[in-house]
């Protein structure tokens, strides 16, 4: 190690170089930002994100959440489905028996039994 520079068998690390790079990047970001449009009125719709004229969603949607729109659109169905899936075996058996009754009734009425 000489001065600030750390030299090892695995590599070379100079904090001053990192600092210089950080300052240069910061300067570039500042220049780009300062060239932006400054006349947007704060606190109005002009500073809110454009969401096709709709109100932007309250929570941010992660890009990895590919099925967000699907779940949002089918929300009522999933709500009902979740309520049905209680995790209690008795409920599942009850559903199974009820379905069986409906099928048998339909078959009887249809003359299949």
């Amino acid at each position: 190690m000489t001065g600030f520079v750390l030299t090892t068998a695995a590599g070379h690390w100079d904090p001053l170089l990192w600092l210089a790079a950080f300052i240069i990047i910061l300067a570039i970001v500042y220049i780009i930002r300062s060239r932006g449009y400054k006349k947007y009125k704060r606190g109005t719709e002009q500073t809110l994100p454009f969401f096709s004229g709709n109100l932007p969603p309250v929570a941010n949607i992660r890009s990895s959440n590919m099925y967000w729109g699907f779940f949002e659109a089918m929300g009522r169905y999933y709500k009902w489905l979740r309520r049905a899936h209680t995790g209690v075996v008795n409920d599942y058996v009850y559903s199974f028996v009820m379905l069986l009754v409906v099928i048998l009734a339909a078959m009887t009425l249809g003359g299949l039994l």
Binding site: K39, K41, Q46, L48, F50, G53, N54
Partner: protein, 144 residues
């Protein structure tokens, strides 16, 4: 019409909003942009968000469901802004006039600066409307 376009220091960007149009006017707008008329050579282009636009170009008679969206999008365009309505439906309601499901025409919802009538208007008429909107923008102090 005398023009003085020296004040506008950058190209004119337009946000196109369809409020329930049959797409006839929208096709003519595309025709104005594509090689036959090619207004993009003057730097005029459609942008994907009202926050980048100088002009709000509206087509369609404004169906009930679109009312709040039209207002919100108008408010999202930075000042100074100009509203250009293309087509009979947006101007007067057109064939949908006094329909139960309309809240338009457009000038009942937001202030309109330039009207381009026609069903649909030809690209020449749309370009003329855009030039008038450009002039109006200069009057409003369109220097960016």
């Amino acid at each position: 019409m005398t023009m003085n376009l020296k004040d506008l220091s950058r190209s004119l960007w337009v946000f196109h909003l369809n409020t329930g149009s049959c797409n006839g006017c929208d096709i003519e707008i595309v025709a104005a942009l594509t090689p036959r008329y090619d207004v993009e050579r003057f730097g005029m282009k459609l942008v994907g968000t009202p926050r980048h636009a100088d002009i709000l170009l509206v087509t369609g008679p404004v169906s009930r469901d679109m009312e709040k969206k039209v207002k919100r999008i108008y408010e999202q365009v930075p000042d100074p802004k100009v509203v250009l309505v293309v087509g009979n439906c947006g101007n007067t309601g057109g064939v949908f006039y006094e329909s139960y499901n309309l809240v338009g025409p457009v000038d009942r919802i937001i202030p309109v600066d330039v009207y381009v009538p026609g069903c649909p208007p030809r690209p020449e008429a749309i370009i003329d409307g855009v030039v008038r909107a450009w002039k109006r923008l200069e009057e409003l102090g369109g220097k960016k």
